[in-house]
Symmetry: C2
Subunit: 368 residues, 2 copies
């Protein structure tokens, strides 16, 4: 394991992400400004948030940052439908209007949409300014805020436009999850479960045991899970920054998951789609003889306990989902590649590429 977790003062864990720190704590929001200005000191700070999160947390953050430098707040509408080039262009113009030059640090305060958008603004603003990620959803805490992937959606698919741009810091206050709608907390758990499947069977079991506590808002159990998921994600990303190899394992559940998300017109949450995608891709793995029998069943079992959907909405046409998989970025030389499990805790490393080409016929069978 390359990520290195320390317990500091009992309620903050610092994880070295290789070039930047991930701080995870209870009540850490009261120190956000101090952490931001240490990680990426700047002449100006631009806080980007959305209409759901800004009313809850932006006032205190903006006021605290103003003690260190000029600070502007840029609020976008909430929801994946706004993760577009248009919103990116409007945010960029807002920063230009606010007089932000290269010595500006962008602060992303919100869920995955805010983090991906603000990260892409930071990646492309005057060819790159620092960004500090402050994720306020479980999904963003353990996935979107880490590893430097930024981007927006187009009509043709999710995250088809973007850049790699590592954050200067990731700051997590697990207490912000108390304001997160329950279905978003459950959807975030799907990614945590994925981390168990791809890398750590004992974490998978621990999650199974603490699901109820986490869903009930137990901060200690939540902090444990967030920290372990962050460690796993960083370990995989650091082994493969540019996604040529092992990082592909993080895509487990996402090839079909993204396709369902797209084909459903974003009617389901990302985490819900990933959950369904994990079940179907685990079934593909079983059919191909890559995974042992029972792998898909174990995933179904834990998803059901987390009250997550196990199959796609009946109205969603199988061929539409299949067509959407072909738009996947992971498509190479015309064939769609899948990251597939061998068992809970271990992924298939076919030809050392961590990806398996799957014929449409097999995908059709599991979608049937």
């Amino acid at each position: 394991m390359t990520a290195n977790a320390k317990t500091a003062g009992g309620n903050v864990r610092t994880i070295d992400a290789g070039g930047y720190a991930v701080q995870i704590g209870r009540g850490l929001r009261h120190q956000f400004a101090a952490h931001v200005t240490m990680a990426a000191p700047a002449y100006r700070y631009a806080v980007i948030s959305d209409a759901q999160v800004a009313p809850l947390y932006s006032d205190a953050l903006v006021e605290a940052l103003r003690a260190y430098g000029q600070t502007s707040l840029h609020v976008i509408p909430a929801g994946e439908a706004h993760k577009t080039r248009d919103t990116w262009a409007r945010l960029t113009d807002g920063l230009l209007d606010a007089g932000c030059a290269r010595d500006t640090t962008i602060v992303a305060l919100g869920g995955g949409v805010v983090g991906d958008l603000a990260g892409f603004v930071a990646a492309t603003y005057m060819r790159g300014v620092p960004v500090v990620q402050i994720p306020t959803t479980l999904l963003a805490m353990i996935d979107a805020s880490l590893g430097g992937k930024t981007g927006v959606d187009t009509h043709a698919g999710k995250n088809l436009v973007g850049a790699f741009h590592a954050p200067s810091a990731v700051l997590v206050d697990v207490e912000t999850l108390t304001t997160l709608p329950a279905e978003h907390l459950r959807a975030g758990l799907a990614e945590a479960i994925k981390h168990g499947v791809i890398a750590d069977a004992s974490y998978f079991a621990a999650l199974d045991a603490s699901l109820e506590d986490i869903l009930a808002g137990d901060p200690a159990r939540t902090l444990d899970a967030v920290a372990r998921s962050v460690e796993i994600k960083l370990e995989v990303v650091r082994a493969d920054e540019r996604e040529h190899g092992r990082r592909k394992t993080l895509n487990f559940g996402h090839t079909i998951g993204h396709a369902i998300e797209l084909a459903s017109g974003f009617a389901l949450l990302h985490g819900e789609c990933v959950g369904i995608g994990m079940v179907l891709e685990a079934r593909i793995a079983e059919r191909l003889g890559v995974a042992g029998h029972g792998t898909a069943g174990a995933i179904e079992h834990i998803l059901a306990r987390a009250q997550l959907p196990l199959s796609r909405p009946p109205a969603l046409d199988a061929e539409a989902v299949l067509a959407a998989t072909r738009l996947d970025k992971k498509s190479r030389a015309g064939a769609v590649e899948y990251a597939l499990p061998v068992r809970i805790g271990a992924m298939a490393d076919a030809d050392m590429t961590w990806a398996v080409r799957v014929d449409d016929a097999v995908v059709r069978e599991v979608l049937a």
Copy 2:
């Protein structure tokens, strides 16, 4: 000197740019496809060009690339006015419609606008695909195609949105300059002259001696100048990839040059604006006692021999130009920084930052 030039077969020079090669030759266009597919082998090739260059050179290139893989051609309108986020989005959608996945190499065939736009498409397409730059203007050959700067303009200024994305190769056929309008050849010479000012007094003198031959289309003299300019640019860029230090010297002439370009609504060519900017910034350097007397005069002399303008259009308001300098990306902590010469061939290294803060009052004096 870090760049390393070799003479191969007498008519191609290979310059090691550190991670990629710059090939400069006469008639090299007949080997473009071979070079592209060696530097960045892919499943698909997407050639991006503009309405001026595509009719001249795209057919042969696309046909040659089709021997190696599926190849699509994407043509944009010519001119800086089209270097926008809208054009970038349309190009991106065109590649998505053509079915380009991550295993696509983008080929930029044209001048600086095409190179910057295609480079930014490549930097952001599925979070980054390779780009090979094939510059067909003198300016693009010796400046825009090198160093990995990509980007587009916004209403607030030039290149305010973009990314660093190094090319996989830069392929230069100096014979393509025979189809370049004369005023563009002269404008490109302004950047070559800048290379002499910032780094090499003997190159400045050699350019002065060969100006007429280059303007008359002498391929050997042109190849010599292109190769020396490429070496200087790469030497400076390699010393400072992320523009924190010496790379700033390449901005000589550009702070005021960009401001004139913007304030004039792009009525003048970029190189023409840089020429005027060099004269005015050299005068600033003289006024501040940074440069010896005669520095601005020497620059005026060579620009006049190249038939380039020496002062801004009289209709252009000095305050409008001054205001536009404040939008410069090089603005830091509210003050505008300038890269200033000490003499022909050497730049000021104030506080080891290679940049000098200049009061508006001094800029007003030289603009008066």
